[in-house]
Amino acid sequence: MTFQQMCTQLLEGLEMTLIIFFLVVIFSLPLGLIVCFGRRSKFKPLSWIVRVFIDILRGTPLMLQLLVVMYGPYFLFGMRLNPTWRFTALIIGFVINYSAYFAEIYRAGIDSIPIGQYEAAEVLGYTNRQTFMKIILPQMVKRVIPPTTNEIITLVKDTSMAFVLATTPPEMFTLAKQITAAGRMGHGAKSMLPLFIAGVFYFVLNAIVSWTMGKLEKKLAYYQ
């Protein structure tokens, strides 16, 4: 296998990695806000349940959660799983897990906003909804960018866990492993080069994530 073939294959995998990455980001960022509302709800039973879920999601391995989502419908409800389910399960598992992390980040962000902001808004006659949308949310977004960036960087690397669900088409990590393993059998790469190349791709992806988030942070640096 030539170097070029290897790169072509890995790039196809990278496409899948990116699809997983963007789907998870697009769904989990907003879902995290909803979970955060539940966690902050004044209705105690709700906030308590959400809290328990968040703790479980953060306190158990993501890989285990992915398998639970994957096999849950079969073992719990006796449903027959069609081949596309693997991918759906992967996205659902990731989105649920990352929503829990984002929810806690948002919560810390909201809690760090001085109570005076709420009081000033209230005295000026803002409704609770207006206060949140116009005063709290924009300031929260600014405050959560650094921890959110960390989480997104972790997500880039975590997409490799698609490996355990063997989703098709395979993403980059799965392919890198396959090509390397095949090398031992006398075909494929005959070296660890695929792993190295995949590593470089992950690294570059995260460099792009950091750079983008850094830009966003700068954009919001016009106030303190």
């Binding site: 000033a120 209230e122 005295v123 006659g125």
Partner: protein
């Protein structure tokens, strides 16, 4: 009469902070509230501005009963929607300014009049710029709060409150968070407002300012009004021992 508060009681748990306080604010009047720290001055202002709910008593704005003691002895409030109208009659200036940091100075002034009071943007902007001019901040319209000194921020906060055209303006120690050299500029604009007959209730530790600017001074201690009256009388010749003692400590 703008505000009438009768027999206000307020506790935090076991701690009674306001015991049976009554106060009336008339149009054009400037009232200073003085008293030792922890005497309930802030709590009183926060009750008057509905940031705290009273336990019992009556709050009456512009002849509208906003809160009263119900049959069970507990305070009841007007429904949220009606209370909204009452809330448009007063403004509050905080010790910590509490400007919106992500808005420019001008937007801090304009956002509520436009989106809460649903007023015409053009008219609001004209008024806001005029207010900034009055505060000596006409060149700061496009600045963000973090680019201003504390004294400038507090003047913006005063302008923001005034932009709502309130009937009465409350101040909770407006200069306490400021460096000493910056208090003057804030006191100056408050004084100018007093000369323009703006109705104001000012909690302050600036005794000479209170003496100069107020029509009436209230001395609060331990959750009660110990003494009130003409500033010359309260400061010059207080009748209560506690007032004398407080002022003595202050003048040292």
């Amino acid at each position: 009469m703008i505000l009438q508060m009768n027999n206000i009681k307020k506790s935090f748990g076991d701690l009674t902070v306001l015991q049976d306080i009554s106060m009336q604010v008339n149009e054009g009047e400037v009232i200073s509230i003085i008293g030792p720290s922890g005497s309930g001055k802030s709590t009183f202002l926060r009750c008057a501005t509905f940031l705290e709910t009273i336990d019992s008593g009556e709050i009456n704005y512009m002849g509208t009963k906003a809160a009263w003691t119900g049959a069970d002895g507990k305070a009841e409030y007007l429904h949220k929607n009606e209370l909204r109208k009452v809330k448009s009659w007063y403004g509050l200036v905080f010790q910590q300014f509490n400007l919106f940091p992500h808005y420019t100075v001008l937007k801090n002034l304009m956002d509520a009049p436009i989106h809460i009071q649903k007023r015409e943007k053009k008219e609001v902007e004209e008024e806001a710029r005029a207010l900034l001019k009055r505060m000596g901040l006409e060149d700061k319209a496009d600045a963000y709060p973090c680019q201003l000194s504390g004294g400038q921020q507090q003047r913006v906060a005063i302008a923001r409150a005034l932009a709502m055209n309130p009937e009465v303006l409350f101040f909770d120690e407006p200069t306490s968070a400021l460096d000493p050299e910056l208090t003057g500029e804030v006191l100056k604009v408050i004084k100018a407002l007093a000369e323009d007959k703006m109705t104001m209730v000012i909690v302050t530790h600036e005794m000479s300012f209170a003496r100069a600017v107020s029509d009436r001074v209230i001395f609060m201690d331990g959750g009660v009004i110990v003494e009130q009256g003409d500033p010359e009388k309260v400061f010059g010749n207080p009748s209560e021992e506690r007032t004398k003692q407080f002022l003595r400590n202050y003048n040292r």
